[in-house]
Amino acid sequence: MTVANGLYRRRRAANTVYLTLSWVATGLGLAVLFLILGELLWKGIPALGIDFFTKETPGPGSTGGGMANAIIGSVFMTGLATLVGTPVGVLTGTYLAEYGRDSYIAPTVRFVNDILLSAPSIVIGVFVYGIVVVPMHSFSGWAGAAALAVIAVPVVVRTTEDMLKLVPGSLREAAVALGAPQWKVIVLVTYRAALQGMLTGVMLAVARIAGETAPLLFTAVSNQFTSLDMNREMANLPVVIFNFANSAYGNWIELAWGGALLITFTILILNIVARVLASWSNRTS
């Protein structure tokens, strides 16, 4: 069956061109991902020795060194920001999902939250500089953690609301029919049903703030030494990577690649685990 119609052939040809281009676009996207990951592995693995995790960042011109102080500072500030951001985000998400149905505030909060989710993180840094660094008269770990917490909240709000909405209404109605007050229904029934999904939200929030650099540049700044004093500058991986990658010292640049590898794979693993958890909880509910 050969249709030797000119129009038909033209349409077929146009279709082939379009579809090939869309294959190429996908290929390019995937290629960039693998190029970046490959480069990170290639340049980063040589840096990840024992020293990397046990020694402090080297001063200018000195050899060797590690990232111990930066890793500790990052874990500390990320942890603190998550501890603050999670309850705030969960409660807000609860309001949107459970109480927001006939409220005029809820749509506005949802809208603003979605905007904050994409707002430039460096502006959050400027904001925290204004309300924390200026009154304290110094850069500090507190300021860094505050900036990260502000960035974490919208992520937790979003996923909490989405996950609570997946819990079937019949579960809530059953609990209410037994005479449980609404807050007990939410805490003991809805939260339990959505627990995996809500955990996903927290993991995504950690993944989001673990690599944030811009809001730390002028809040936590950096510190050459290990310090848990939250009132002073605090070392952290992203800012150290930024400073070291722009330097002229070979060992600094190598450490920067090591740090980049560590951060990226931590974040990718968190993301993948979160996705798997979310798809499980969707299946069971």
């Binding site: 077929r12 996908t26 480069e39 949107l96 707002a119 904001f127 007050p181 722009n246 951060i263 990226t264």
Partner: protein
């Protein structure tokens, strides 16, 4: 009925009622807190920026000099750089993101749909500093060695357009920054576009195939008209990201505070200026001018993101009908 309740039960019911109100109130307070947060960011930026706007007025927006020594500040080069890098990013990322969405919804074997979609979304999870360091050490040398000399040799020789591609191939510059931004916003545009493509009722799509349309024609004449608002919303979302992106740009734009017609020349953006200078700024007027830059960036991105959200919301409402 009430009289048959014991005093004990009564008390328990009452205390439950109070607890209920307290829990509801607590969630409400935090929800309103999100609104307060946005207001607080705007107010604190505006207060920090006030001295700069008092001193320079509207000239701040059009001034070209950025001189901490003479305390003369103008935001034009930074605003220009922000807009131009984002424009380049969108010109590259829109067709690519569109292609990926078409691939994922129309072409991809169903078994590969999830994994490939996830891989594309993982591009969005990589922190921007990683794009920066990769752009600085890998992309910029490639640009300097191959891409930019080729551009200078071909497009650079044309009249008018040539000015955009003149100068020396530094590797670092506005074009490289736009390219890195394109990679960064690609996953946002691709995944939103894919999601809105999936809202097209299968019946519409199948009817078109049924009357003999090719895949390209189905996308062009059925899917796109149906999802136009959503696609534009996704593009605006990507634009909002591109405008405020900081670390990747800071690494590769070359950080020169001047207006240059050439895309190959170093430039700066609002976010890159903030990233490079804020920690060192000491004088009041210098800090105020940086706050003013932050305020300008925040207001621009708020408007773009709000428009994006409204477009996507209108699509949701139509889908719900």
């Amino acid at each position: 009925m009430a009289s048959t309740l014991t005093v004990e039960t009564r008390r328990r019911v009452d205390s439950q009622r109070i607890q209920d109100a307290a829990f509801r109130g607590a969630t409400r307070v935090f929800a309103i807190g999100v609104l307060v947060l946005l207001g607080a960011v705007l107010v604190s930026l505006a207060m920090g920026a006030a001295p700069a706007f008092d001193k320079f007025g509207w000239r701040f927006l059009v001034g070209q000099s950025w001189n901490p020594v003479t305390e003369n500040f103008g935001a034009l080069p930074a605003i220009y750089g922000t807009l131009v890098t984002s424009l380049i990013a969108m010109l590259i990322a829109i067709p690519l993101g569109f292609g990926i969405a078409v691939f994922l919804t129309e072409l991809c074997p169903p078994a590969l749909r999830r994994p490939i979609g996830t891989l594309i979304e993982l591009l969005a999870a990589i922190p921007s500093i990683i794009y920066g360091i990769w752009g600085f050490f890998v992309l910029a040398p490639v640009m300097a060695e191959y891409v930019q000399p080729a551009l200078i040799g071909s497009l650079g020789q044309l009249p008018v357009v040539g000015a955009l591609f003149s100068g020396a191939p530094f590797g670092l510059g506005v074009l490289t920054a736009g390219l890195i931004l394109a990679i960064m916003v690609l996953p946002f545009i691709a995944s939103v576009t894919r999601d809105v493509f999936l809202t097209v009722p299968p019946m519409l799509r199948e009817s078109a195939y049924g009357v003999g349309a090719t895949t390209a024609e189905v996308v062009r004449h059925i899917v796109l008209p149906y999802t136009r608002t959503g696609v534009i919303g996704g593009i605006m979302l990507g634009l909002g990201r591109a405008l405020g992106e900081t670390m990747a740009v800071t690494f590769v734009i070359g950080n020169a505070n001047r207006l240059s017609p050439s895309l190959l020349a170093p430039g700066t953006t609002i976010s890159a200026t903030l990233a490079n200078q804020f920690a060192e700024a000491k004088d009041d007027m210098y800090v105020a001018s940086l706050f003013a830059l932050g305020l300008i960036l925040f207001v621009i991105t708020l408007l773009v993101l709000a428009a994006a959200k409204l477009l996507l919301l209108s699509l949701d409402q139509r889908a719900a009908k």
